[in-house]
């Protein structure tokens, strides 16, 4: 009993240590598709400087990243690619839907645009705006960090919406 208790105490600290480390070194997979990608690039530039939050390591290989930022209009043709890339990312992984298009289809109510990527991807944070300003993307990153810090499965499913 006592040993078990100590063990469980031990693992929780490991957990929180790991979450703390994870939170401060989220490696984004920049899924830049269209206009929003430019603002995503802008958030990495010297002015907004995403590296203040430990996420400047934009990895173009899904196998090395744990945060997918979907920035841009996802069409039906593209959706298969996005899903394929998401599937290649190692667990645990998080998704930011950046911009109106990605979250809901935005201004494109047309035959070729998926009306919100949550139809085929689990999304954690939705960021409003067309495009969201880089500061707002950083805000989303902070939200994700909070989520990662809490780390447990329950909060993983809850969705966060960031207004413009």
């Amino acid at each position: 009993m006592g040993i078990e208790e100590r063990e469980s105490f031990f693992t929780t600290t490991i957990d929180s240590l790991v979450s703390w480390a994870r939170k401060n070194s989220l490696w984004p997979m920049p899924m830049g598709i269209s206009c929003c990608a430019i603002e995503m690039m802008a958030s990495a530039d010297p002015r907004f400087d995403i590296s203040r939050f430990g996420s400047e390591v934009m990895r173009f290989s899904p196998r090395q990243s744990d945060l997918m930022i979907v920035a841009g209009t996802v069409t039906y043709k593209m959706s298969h690619v996005v899903r394929k890339i998401y599937d290649q990312m190692p667990e645990p992984k998080w998704v930011i839907a950046m911009g109106a298009c990605t979250s809901t289809g935005g201004m494109y109510r047309t035959y070729s645009v998926v009306q919100g990527i949550d139809q085929f991807l689990p999304v954690d944070v939705y960021v409003a705006g067309c495009p969201p300003r880089p500061d707002n993307l950083l805000n989303a990153l902070l939200e994700i960090q909070k989520k990662v810090k809490n780390g447990n499965q329950k909060s993983k499913r809850e969705k966060i919406y960031i207004a413009e």
Binding site: M31, G32, I33, S34, C35, A37, I38, E39, M41, A42, D45, P46, R47, F60, G72, T73, T75, K77, M78, H80, V81, I85, M107, Y108, R109, T110, Y111, S112, V113, C130, P131, R133
Partner: protein, 411 residues
Amino acid sequence: MLSSEKIYKSLEDSDTIFTIDDSIENTMVLNMGPQHPATHGVLRLLVKLDGETVVSCIPDLGYLHRGYEKLAEHCSYHEFIPHTDRLDYLSPLANNVAYVLAVEKLIGIETTCRVKFIRVICCELARISSHLISVGTFAMDVGALTILLWTFREREKIQDIFDVLTGVRFTTSFTRIGGLANDLSDEVKKMIENFLNQFPEKLDECEKLILKNKIFIDRCEGVGTISKDDAIQFGATGPILRACGIEHDLRRDAPYLVYDELDFDIPVYSEGDALARFYVRLQEMRESVKIILQCLDKMPNESIRINVPKKVLPQKEKIYSKMEELIHDFMLINFGINPPVGEVYHSIESSKGELGFYISSNGSGYPWRLKIRSPSFCNLQIMPKMIVGSMISDIVVIIGSVDPVMGEADK
């Protein structure tokens, strides 16, 4: 089935039909994109390699096909202006201008002189900001990351100008049919002047950093060369055409706005390779600075909307205080501008080449058909010609030098 053939087959997926014409053992098919850092968005290339040499190359488009042309048929003429921002999202203001010029041509109205000058300023600022990204990402693809950060720093300054001028950083929707959303204030003028005063110096700095770099030059020189005839045959426009020694620029050849009153040069290089295209872009930015300075000088003080109440939206403050304006605004928003029946085409020289809008109207408030002639789409067509025969590592250089924007190419 041969084993190599099986491999090709497995590379096919539901998105592509890739036919194998011969299956010699030592060729290999490589799939590049649509998620690839060097493809500038969602371009997909299927390349067949013999060792490291590219034997054939098939671009696959449509990953960003958003259905603009269909959407346009369901939007009134005013409603479509915000959509033009997202076409070539590196220079949204130029698209706004191109579209309203086409609509104005259709209606047969002409704006005031001040509006024309402001539009020219917008176009040229957009050109600078687009070329900055193009130059930066091109250098990054070749391996010089610092340039990207430097050009982004300059671009942020332009973004700030747009922020004050139009209210947003880049999806501007600034122009209106028959005018502009708001005037260019003295504050913006000051900002533009400040920017232009320091910009050429900063550009020199960037230039010095790469153009004396042997690695950079070696990687770009003689890569992706195309001949004059090919460029014309394939309908290439913009920096690609000018880099093969053809002096063609719509600002000169079919002057619109006030370009015929301004004094500027058209940089032309004759090599036709990636480096020449890079030089053309650098020089064009310098010319743009010249143009904007002249515009700021010559700009008269005038109203920024013309008074054609049946076609042009009235100023916002008048809508709230005058009955007549309110009625016109209501009619325009609800029933559209109802242009005459007919078909027009108007094109401008955007940063990528000839950007044109073909509008067919049947007299109602909605365009019957709106066709976008996007420069990136047409320029992409020549890319396989550049790539075939070069090394695989040159592909990124070539894509960077063509500088396609997929939002525009896929429409």
